[in-house]
C-alpha cells in the first residue's frame, strides 16, 4: 500500500528481540509412526488362507504363528518366501478436488523358517527370520501434506530361535526368543523456503534393536479339530544415535544444529491369537483365527535430539492408540495329490482414533481377500504362491496436530511366492 518506494531502514532494527528469530519455526519436526505398519505376511500357505495358521500344522511358518505347534509338525522344514507389497494410498484434501497419491514403491517383506528335530523325538527346534512390522510410503515432496511426511521406510526384522516340546500326543507347547533389528528412514519438508523458494527438509535415519519373546500351545482333539493359542510379546525397539539431518537455508542452519542425532523408542505391541483348524474331509482344511493387538501401549512418540536449539526441541506427539482386533478365515482344497487351492479373508479394526490419522500409515478399518496355490514340485519341495488384496476404508479426518484435513483411502496389492523343502 506504499505508493512510492522509500529508503528502507529495516536493517536498523537493532532492538527487535533476539526472541524473534529464536521463535522462528514453531514447526519443530515431530515424526509420527502409525498402526498400518503391522505387516502380516508370514507364509504363503497361510496368506492364501486369509492369514490363518495359529491352529494349523502347515509348515515351518508355525515358528511364528504358534511355536507350540512346531513339535507337532510331521517333518523338518527349511523354507523362504517373499511378498512384494504395493501400498497405494490416495488423499483428497477437504474442500478440494485434488488427489495426491503415494508413489508406486515396492516393499519386500520376507520370511525364512527352519524347523528341525530328530525323527520321532518329542521336541523340535526352530529359527524364524521375518518382518512383522514395516512400511514404505512415499508421498513425494510436492503434496499437500509434505510438512507431515514426505516418505517413510520402516523395517523391523525379527530373529526368533524357538524350542517346542510335545507334552502328550495331543498337546504341545513352545516358546521363542525374539531379537528385533529395526531401521527407519523418514523425510519431511520444513516450511522455511530457501532463496529459490524451496522448502527445507528433515531426515531421520537410524537403526536400533529390541527384544521380546513368544509362546504358544497346540491341541489336537478327537473330532478332527485343532486348537492353537499364541502370544507374541511387545518388543520395545530403541533407535539410538540415529542421524538427524536438517537441510535448510544457510542463514538459519544454526537453528537446526548439525551434525545431530536422535533417539527414539517405538513399542511394537504384543499380539494374542487363538486359532482353530478343522478337516471335514481329506480334501478340505478350514481355519479360523482371531487376534488381539495391544496397541494401547502406544501412547506417545518422542524424539530426543542430542543437540537441541530453541527451534529444535525434543518432541512428544500424542498417539493414544486403541487396541485392535482382527478376524480371519481361510480354507484349503486339495485339488489333486499335487495341487492345493486356497482362499480366505479377514477384517481388521483400526488402532488409530479419530484425529490421529497421519500420512505415515493412513489407517482405517480394513478388509482383505486372499487366494493361493500350492504345488508339490517333488515329494520334498513345495512351491506356494499367494495373492492378497487389502482395502482400507476411506477415512475423512482432520489431524489434531497438523490440521491436515481430508480423506485417505488405501488399497494394497501383495503377490507372494515361497519354496519349502521338507524331509
Amino acid at each position: 500500500m506504499f505508493s512510492q518506494n522509500k529508503r528502507h531502514i529495516i536493517n536498523q532494527l537493532y532492538f527487535i528481540m533476539r526472541k524473534l528469530i529464536l521463535l522462528l519455526f514453531a514447526i519443530i519436526p515431530s515424526f509420527v509412526l502409525a498402526q498400518g505398519f503391522q505387516v502380516n505376511l508370514h507364509g504363503q500357505k497361510q496368506i492364501g488362507m486369509g492369514h490363518t495358521g495359529t491352529g494349523l500344522l502347515q509348515d515351518g511358518a508355525s515358528v511364528l504363528f504358534n511355536p507350540g505347534a512346531v513339535a507337532m509338525l510331521p517333518q523338518n522344514y527349511v523354507q523362504a518366501g517373499m511378498s512384494p507389497l504395493l501400498f497405494k494410498s490416495d488423499f483428497n484434501p477437504s474442500g478440494s478436488t485434488d488427489q495426491f497419491r503415494t508413489k508406486s514403491k515396492i516393499a519386500t517383506p520376507f520370511t525364512a523358517y527352519g524347523v528341525w528335530g530328530p525323527k520321532d523325538a518329542r521336541w523340535k527346534i526352530g529359527l524364524g527370520v521375518y518382518t512383522p512390522y514395516g512400511g514404505l510410503t512415499d508421498w513425494g515432496n510436492d503434496w499437500i501434506g509434505k510438512y507431515s511426511l514426505e516418505s517413510l521406510n520402516l523395517k523391523a526384522i525379527y530373529f526368533q530361535p524357538t524350542l517346542s516340546v510335545k507334552l502328550t500326543d495331543f498337546l504341545s507347547v513352545g516358546a521363542g526368543f525374539v531379537y528385533n533389528h529395526g531401521t527407519v528412514d523418514l523425510t519431511r519438508a520444513i516450511p522455511v523456503s530457501n532463496s529459490s523458494g524451496q522448502d527445507g527438509q528433515a531426515e531421520l535415519k537410524g537403526s536400533g534393536h529390541g527384544f521380546g519373546w513368544n509362546a504358544g500351545a497346540f491341541l489336537k482333539t478327537d473330532i478332527g479339530l485343532t486348537i492353537g493359542l499364541d502370544y507374541r510379546s511387545q518388543v520395545n525397539t530403541t533407535v539410538k544415535n540415529g542421524n538427524a539431518i536438517f537441510n535448510v537455508a544457510n542463514s538459519i542452519q544454526s537453528n537446526f544444529p548439525q551434525p545431530n542425532t536422535f533417539t527414539t523408542t517405538l513399542p511394537l505391541p504384543s499380539t494374542s491369537s487363538i486359532g482353530l483348524g478343522y478337516k471335514p474331509s481329506d480334501k478340505w482344511t478350514l481355519a479360523l483365527d482371531a487376534n488381539f493387538t495391544k496397541w494401547d501401549v502406544y501412547k506417545t512418540l518422542g524424539f530426543d535430539y542430542a543437540k537441541n536449539a530453541p527451534t529444535l526441541q525434543d518432541t512428544y506427539s500424542p498417539r493414544n492408540y486403541k487396541n485392535g482386533w482382527s478376524y480371519r478365515a481361510g480354507a484349503e482344497y486339495k485339488a489333486t495329490s499335487k495341487l492345493f487351492v486356497r482362499g480366505g479373508g479377514g477384517y481388521v479394526t483400526t488402532a488409530v482414533r479419530d484425529g490421529y490419522v497421519t500420512p505415515e500409515a493412513p489407517d482405517a478399518n480394513r478388509y482383505y481377500l486372499t487366494a493361493g496355490l500350492g504345488y508339490k514340485v517333488t515329494k520334498n519341495l513345495d512351491l506356494d504362491v499367494s495373492f492378497e488384496y487389502e482395502h482400507l476404508d476411506a477415512r475423512t479426518q482432520t489431524n489434531i496436530e497438523s490440521q491436515l484435513s481430508g480423506t485417505f483411502k488405501t488399497n494394497v496389492y501383495i503377490p507372494g511366492l515361497s519354496l519349502a523343502y521338507h524331509w
Binding site: 500500500m1 506504499f2 505508493s3 512510492q4 518506494n5 528502507h8 531502514i9 529495516i10 536493517n11 536498523q12 532494527l13 537493532y14 532492538f15 527487535i16 528481540m17 533476539r18 524473534l20 528469530i21 522462528l24 514453531a26 514447526i27 512384494p84 504395493l86 497405494k88 490416495d90 483428497n92 484434501p93 477437504s94 474442500g95 478440494s96 478436488t97 485434488d98 488427489q99 497419491r101 499437500i144 501434506g145 509434505k146 510438512y147 507431515s148 516450511p191 522455511v192 523456503s193 530457501n194 532463496s195 537455508a249 544457510n250 542463514s251 538459519i252 514340485v377 512351491l383 504362491v385 476411506a394 497438523s402 490440521q403 491436515l404 480423506t407 483411502k409 496389492y413 503377490p415 511366492l417
Partner: protein, 441 residues
C-alpha cells in the same frame, strides 16, 4: 527348477507391474459454480489485490496474487481466463523490492532493496510530488489491483497522472490522463463476477505514516463512495465478493518494534533511562509529548539508532526519544490516541462494507475478524504453523503489511469459502502448502 523359478519371476514382476497401474481413487463430487457465473472475473482493489509484497510490486508477487489464485480455482468450475498486468520477465523486479540477506548476531534480520527494473520515468507534479512511471502494460486486464489507491480516489479523474501503477494500465500516457476514473476504467468491459477489496489505504496510509503523513478518509465520504462503487459494480446484476479492512494493529508493521523492546535495549546501555517519550495525540490536531506506553505502536521502519542521539534544544543538547523535549517523531509512532482514532474509522468503514454488501447479496470475507483471529491464535494449515509474527509467521512479507505467496493463498481460500457459502458453489480450495513463505538466503 530353473524353469519354475523363471516362470515365477515373470508371474511376480508382471503381477506387480499390473497393480502399479491401478489407481486408488476417492470419488469427489463435481465442483459447482452454484448460482454464480465466473466466466469473466475481475478483481478490484489496491496493492493487496495487485500481489504487492516485500515493499514492491514485482513479477513473483503478481503471479501469486490472491485474485490469480482464486481465478485458477474458479477455472475448475467454468471460470474464464484471468489475465494480469504482469511485468515482463526481463523486468521481473518491477518497482524493486526487499529481500532478506541474513541475520545479525543478535538475531535481527538484514534486508536489502533490489533495484527497480520497470521504471520508465520519474516526474514531478506540482503541489503533489514525485510520480514514478512504470513500463506500460498493454493487453487484457482481469486484475485491476492498483497499489496505493484509496476508495476516496476511485472517482478522481486525475488519478491516472498521480498513481504510476494506475497510469501503467491506462491506454494513454502521463500527463494526458485527466479524465479517467478508476471506477469507470474497471467497469468499462463486461464481466460476470468481481472481488472488491478497496478501502484499506483510507485508514492504513494514515497509520503507516504514524498519523503524520496522511489523513483518514471521512466516514460519510467512504460510505457514499462505497455505495456508489458497489452500485456500479453490480449494475447489470453481477455477483461478487468483498472484504473488510484489517485492524491496523493486526499487522507486524506495528507489532514488531515495541516500546518495551526499545526501552529494554536502551536501559542495557544506560540504566538511568526511565522512559521513552513520544509526541502523542491529545485531541483534534493537538499533539503533546508524554511517556510512551505499550499501547503506542512504533512502526517497523523506525531507525532505532536515533534513540539517545543528541538533539539540539533551547535547553541544550538532549538525547533523542528520552526526554519530553526530544520525543520520538510523530511519523514513527502510531500513538494510543491515533490507534483508537484509526480503529474507530476502520470499524465505521467495515460497518459500511458489510451493510452495503449484504444489501446487494454479495459474499463477504471478513478480513478484519480473520486476521485478528490469526494474531490471537495463530493458524495451522496443512501441517504449517502460521502466525502474524514478522518473518517467522509465514503470512506477512518483509514489509510487515503485505503478504507472502502463502499468505495470499490463505486469503484466496477465505474468499473462496465466502463465495461458496453465498452462492451455493463449491469452488475447490487452493493448496496453501504449495505456496512459499518468506525466502531465506
Amino acid at each position: 527348477m530353473k524353469t519354475y523359478s523363471s516362470y515365477l519371476h515373470i508371474f511376480l514382476v508382471t503381477g506387480l507391474l499390473g497393480f502399479a497401474a491401478c489407481k486408488t481413487s476417492i470419488n469427489t463430487p463435481a465442483p459447482s459454480r452454484g448460482t454464480a457465473d465466473f466466466s469473466r472475473y475481475i478483481s478490484v482493489g489496491n496493492s493487496l489485490t495487485a500481489g504487492y509484497a516485500d515493499n514492491g510490486l514485482y513479477l513473483e508477487g503478481q503471479l501469486n496474487s490472491y485474485p490469480s489464485i482464486i481465478a485458477a480455482q474458479m477455472q475448475k468450475v467454468g471460470g474464464g481466463t484471468f489475465t494480469q498486468p504482469l511485468f515482463g520477465t526481463d523486468q521481473a523486479d518491477g518497482s524493486g523490492h526487499l529481500i532478506l540477506t541474513g541475520f545479525n548476531a543478535d538475531g535481527t534480520p538484514k534486508t536489502q532493496q533490489v533495484a527497480a527494473t520497470a521504471v520508465r520515468n520519474q516526474v514531478t507534479v506540482p503541489n503533489f510530488g514525485t510520480v514514478t512511471l512504470f513500463t506500460k502494460y498493454k493487453g487484457d486486464i482481469n486484475n485491476y489491483g492498483v497499489p496505493g489507491i484509496k476508495l476516496q480516489q476511485i472517482t478522481f479523474g486525475q488519478l491516472g497522472n498521480l498513481n504510476g501503477y494506475f497510469e501503467r494500465m491506462l491506454p494513454t500516457d502521463f500527463p494526458t490522463n485527466t479524465n479517467s476514473t478508476y471506477l469507470d476504467f474497471v467497469t468499462a468491459k463486461p464481466y460476470t463476477f468481481f472481488t472488491d477489496w478497496l478501502g484499506n489505504n483510507d485508514a492504513l496510509l494514515y497509520a503507516t505514516s504514524g498519523g503524520a503523513g496522511d489523513v483518514l478518509t471521512d466516514k460519510a465520504q467512504f460510505s457514499q463512495l462505497y455505495n456508489l462503487s458497489i452500485t456500479q459494480l453490480t449494475k447489470t446484476g453481477q455477483k461478487g465478493a468483498v472484504a473488510t479492512i484489517p485492524d491496523v494493529t493486526a499487522v507486524p508493521y506495528f507489532n514488531t518494534v515495541t516500546v518495551g523492546a526499545i526501552l529494554a535495549a536502551v536501559q542495557k546501555a544506560n540504566p538511568a533511562a526511565k522512559a521513552l517519550y513520544v509526541n502523542a495525540l491529545v485531541s483534534g490536531t493537538t499533539y503533546a509529548p508524554r511517556v510512551a506506553t505499550a499501547a503506542d505502536l512504533i512502526i517497523l521502519t523506525f531507525p532505532t539508532s536515533m534513540i539517545g542521539q543528541p538533539v539540539s534544544t533551547p535547553a541544550g543538547n538532549l538525547p533523542y526519544g528520552l526526554t519530553p523535549y526530544t520525543p520520538i517523531d510523530n511519523k514513527y509512532v502510531l500513538d494510543q490516541g491515533e490507534v483508537a482514532l484509526t480503529q474507530d474509522y476502520v470499524n465505521a468503514y467495515n460497518a459500511t462494507i458489510k451493510s452495503v454488501a449484504s444489501s446487494k447479496g454479495l459474499a463477504i470475507f471478513d478480513a478484519y475478524t480473520f486476521l485478528n483471529n490469526v494474531k490471537a491464535n495463530g493458524l495451522v494449515v496443512d501441517g504449517v504453523n502460521l502466525s502474524s509474527a514478522y518473518i517467522s509467521g509465514g503470512i506477512f512479507s518483509l514489509d510487515g503489511v503485505h503478504l507472502t505467496p502463502r499468505g495470499y493463498a490463505v486469503v484466496a481460500n477465505e474468499f473462496i469459502k465466502a463465495i461458496n457459502k453465498q452462492y451455493n458453489a463449491s469452488i475447490p480450495l487452493a493448496n496453501v502448502s504449495s505456496y512459499r513463505g518468506v525466502k531465506f538466503p
